[in-house]
Symmetry: C2
Subunit: 258 residues, 2 copies
Amino acid sequence: MSWQAIDNEVKSWLKQARKLILTKMDSDLQVSTKSGPNDLVTNLDKQVEQFYISQIKQKFKHSRILGEESCKEEGLLSFDGLFWVIDPIDGTMNFVKEKENFASMIAIYKQGKPYIAYIYDVMKDRLVWGGPALGAVYCNQTQLPAPKQHALKDGLVAISCPMVLANYRNVVEVIKASSGCRMVGSAGIEFINLILGKHCAYLSYLRPWDFLPGKILGETLGLSVKTIDDEKVDVVSSSVVLVATKSAHTEIIELVNR
Amino acid sequence: MSWQAIDNEVKSWLKQARKLILTKMDSDLQVSTKSGPNDLVTNLDKQVEQFYISQIKQKFKHSRILGEESCKEEGLLSFDGLFWVIDPIDGTMNFVKEKENFASMIAIYKQGKPYIAYIYDVMKDRLVWGGPALGAVYCNQTQLPAPKQHALKDGLVAISCPMVLANYRNVVEVIKASSGCRMVGSAGIEFINLILGKHCAYLSYLRPWDFLPGKILGETLGLSVKTIDDEKVDVVSSSVVLVATKSAHTEIIELVNR
């Protein structure tokens, strides 16, 4: 099976998911909470995840799946087929409140290795996709250059709100050394901002389905994706993840490990 | 002179400014700093402001103008003609780094009273416009309803980064009482977020050209636009401005004035 065959399928699923979301988001949205009042899930998160799962099971039989809402199969690094990591709607709070700035994401591992990934900014119809299978990353039809190596002082940083409020690991100094801080509320959208060179760093506590698609895409373009302790990110657990240009990475690691 | 005649002119200027920005932003952008390394201005800020000023002077002779970059005429509340407040590119840092999330804004006062205003999200081609002259606010062609009265716990808040870092007036408690915090980096885009009901409150230190267009539009739709001390905003000076739904306003004023 070529990556092009997989790619054709996945892109058609993403477009169908977009259609479903656009059709139902204003008229048929049921919101409930998970771990707390600000951890939301909707019927559309679940429907889109079920749609992806049913498509994968139908089209790619030798697959395992890890999904945010329902499906928690294991063996990402040992399974000899395709391992799919799916986040149907990343940034559900934005989806509910802003009706924009959320992403639908899929990461594919093949024989335990990163293969191809997708982050879809649904409302902007902006699909960032690619990976080692093709040795490149695209935004829609345009191949992307590696992001410019902005130093911290010349770049915007995105840091999750709880970390800023607690000044976790000195992040206030990171912000003061940068061009400014943005809070977007979706890991997928933040990865896109890094990949497109809009921001120079992103720091947040993330779960595998939040960071794996962006990790595959970002690393293909030379971005650094490490833990806040400058270690390799464990792809099967949650971590405090720092995504950054190489130069901003060095400066931030120094500031947060003082 | 009817408001429709003014509206026709202004909309054509905004579209022309958009064309100029889209044509030149990637190829012909010169960035310099104003008060500090993160206070940017570009050749396009200046060109767009000059374009608006020349059009106003040509088409509306009995006018005065207050512009961010160059033109500081006085008499907003006493002048008996049209008083124009212009911010050619609000969110210049975003314009330079993100190439999106910036706005071109115009507020018009007539005989000292708010008349009509425009906030144009240039990259999304999303124009929010209206005011007392027509008793309504539109997003492009669609008339907008009053934003829903979200309570603070059910809404996203946007608070400027320096205020959050300093926990100015207890804003950390405001964030903790809300659905979450976003930092967008443009007052114009934030006013749009409030007007479209995406966020329930915005708090920032703002200058007249930052807040007057949004104040005219927001108040037309029943949003509260006050100082952080719950006083009337002085339209000719800079202030810490709180824009909010009426219910979020009450809760925030209580939290920041404890």
